[in-house]
């Protein structure tokens, strides 16, 4: 990904930063930008350059003059560079925070920062997309011991849970084993939504969740037809990542890895009765609230 390439790129004249004439042979603008980006992102590289390390010269095939300019840049604008690098790390942390809300909350702000710092030290270059970067982070954390004071099981379990949501987002929706059977017992769906371990983490008792699911929210607040198709992700009793689809007037769980099963077909086949609809409406509201807590992810009109 990094390094000198692109022979077609125009030549770059690194002159005039300090008023000197440029060398005859100079690196392309793209290579120069790549070297700069690497410096922005890699704190170790910045330290190494300040300590006299010249390995970046070979990596980007810089001329001696270009290397000198780069060293001068890193050394003389050190404070500003560090400030900029901090901004980059903050942006990256914010993006990761969006993907790991429950995990971040469990870990707590100071330790969350430590975990992120460990990650950015070891993986300084972000992946090509925010989602991919999130996946890389999750996998990194899976192989990391938790900071002191955190339960290793919950730590790993939570990051796996968050990671699995990202994997689902990154890939096409995956097969969910449970389907029609759950429709027959919609009143029992709610305990499956969040495994007890997560409920404890959220300091929510099953009773509270049950009250949420069983009608404290007036069902008339649900507007049939307004929501269209909504997708949610949750854990099954067997700890699988599930994808569920909620229709405008009915929630159900679909298998759609083959993309052939339509919601209406399932409705007709399962002959869902009116009480079930009411129950699903309440469940939907409960899910929405859980979604706000980061326990489940609700995506309206997710792409199929």
């Amino acid at each position: 990904m990094w390094g000198r390439g692109s022979a077609a790129a125009p030549l770059y004249c690194a002159a005039s930063f300090d008023g000197e004439e440029c060398e005859v042979e100079s690196v392309s603008l793209l290579d120069w930008q790549s070297a700069l980006a690497r410096i922005y992102l890699d704190s170790k590289l910045r330290r190494d350059i300040r300590n006299g390390d010249k390995s970046i010269q070979n990596e980007f095939r810089l001329t001696d003059a270009e290397l000198d300019k780069l060293i001068k840049f890193v050394t003389e604008q050190g404070e500003q560079l560090e400030s900029f690098a901090t901004s980059l790390r903050r942006k990256r942390r914010e993006r990761l925070n969006c993907y790991f809300p429950l995990f971040a909350r469990y870990v707590g702000e100071p330790k969350w920062r430590v975990v992120i710092e460990m990650f950015t030290e070891q993986v300084p270059i972000p992946q090509s997309s925010a989602t991919k970067d999130g996946l890389a982070f999750g996998r990194f954390v899976q192989g990391t011991d938790p900071p002191q004071g955190l339960d290793p099981t919950v730590f790993k379990d939570l990051v796996t849970y968050e990671l699995s949501k990202l994997e689902v987002l990154e890939a096409s929706p995956v097969v969910v084993e449970q389907a029609e059977n759950d429709i027959e017992s919609t009143g029992q769906i709610w305990p499956y939504l969040v495994p007890p371990a997560r409920i404890r983490c959220m300091h929510q008792s099953p009773t509270v969740l049950a009250r949420l699911a069983q009608g404290e929210v007036p069902t008339h607040t649900f507007e049939p037809g307004r929501r269209g198709l909504d997708i949610l992700f949750f854990r099954s009793p067997r700890n699988e990542v599930c994808v569920a689809e909620l229709g405008g007037y009915l929630g159900t769980v679909l298998r759609y890895s083959d993309g052939t099963e339509a919601l209406d077909d399932l409705v007709e086949r399962c002959n869902v009765s009116s009480p079930h609809k009411v129950s699903i409406n309440a469940v939907f509201e409960a899910l929405r609230k859980l979604g706000e807590s980061g326990i489940v992810v609700l995506l309206t009109k997710a792409r199929r």
């Binding site: 005039s16 930063f17 603008l29 120069w32 930008q33 790549s34 992102l41 400030s83 980059l88 009109k301």
Partner: protein, 276 residues
């Protein structure tokens, strides 16, 4: 809607949705972050706003300063947003956000060099032609000057917009931050800029951290920014001013007060219908 005549607007943020409903009459136009509209769901909330008032789309990821071709997938998404929200114009930055597949996630400065100017002008003209809308280029705040520069920022911006026939989104807060941090005269900058090419102005929050100013978008607009606004309005025809607030969003009344101040300045120089 005239290209230069939108009034005083506000940067749309989800957190402002409810307040905007109650204060629609106090906002002339909205600027939405185009990148946040790439997801269908995020765009839904804006569909209605697009029918209520003019919208402009501000993008973050064209990365015009990178010495690579425009990311076609990104441009396709930009065009999809344009088709959906029908903005008056679009804008992005005189910056680099992506290099060789790596997303920096932040606006990075460019070297103010002949080569950069030619590169950005070429790419900007291409984007403008393919999007079928005016493309405005914004001056960013930058912590450091890159090696390889051979001209001042204002000259680079001027030459880019002239060569590409694009327009300028003049961020007066960034001007304030840069002029303070890099020690130059902001009024000289404005004097050198082709103000007739300025279609929109950004004003936003900034804060002094240590010895450096930072465009935080989380604080009130610094007083000198309103002075620059007055100076610019007196010397140009620009009539589209936008208040940006991304974080620590206060009560709407505080935002309204800042918009009102900008509106008063605009009214002093323009005879145009304005909200509020």
């Amino acid at each position: 809607v005239s290209v230069n005549y939108l009034g005083v607007g506000l940067g749309y943020r989800r957190e402002l949705q409810v307040a905007l409903e109650s204060h629609t009459g106090e906002v002339d136009f909205l600027e939405v972050i185009g990148d946040e509209c790439f997801e269908d769901t995020a765009c839904e909330a804006l569909d209605l706003w697009a029918t209520r008032m003019p919208i402009v789309c501000h993008f973050l990821g064209l990365s015009l300063g990178t010495a690579e071709a425009i990311d076609e997938a990104y441009l396709t998404r930009v065009r999809t947003v344009i088709a959906r929200l029908r903005p008056v114009w679009i804008s992005d930055h005189l910056a680099m956000t992506r290099v060789q597949g790596v997303d920096l996630g932040h606006l990075s400065p460019i070297a103010f060099s002949e080569e950069s100017v030619a590169l950005i002008a070429r790419k900007a003209a291409d984007v403008q032609a393919r999007c079928g809308l005016p493309l405005l280029l914004e001056n960013i705040s930058y912590d450091f000057s890159l090696p390889g520069g051979s001209m001042k920022e204002v000259e680079a911006l001027t030459r880019v917009v002239q060569a590409s026939d694009c327009r300028i989104l003049l961020d007066l807060t960034n001007l304030h931050v840069n002029s303070q941090n890099h020690g130059y005269d902001p009024y000289a900058y404005l004097d050198e800029l082709p103000l007739e090419r300025v279609s929109q102005i950004h004003i936003g929050g900034a804060v002094l951290r240590g010895s450096s100013w930072v465009d935080s978008h989380a604080h009130e607009v610094p007083m000198p920014v309103f002075d620059y606004l007055d100076y610019t309005c007196a010397r140009s025809t620009v009539s589209s001013i936008l208040l940006e607030r991304d974080r620590a969003i206060p009560d709407f009344s505080e935002l309204a007060a800042e918009m009102s101040r900008a509106r008063d300045i605009l009214r002093a120089y323009r005879n145009c219908p304005l909200a509020g």
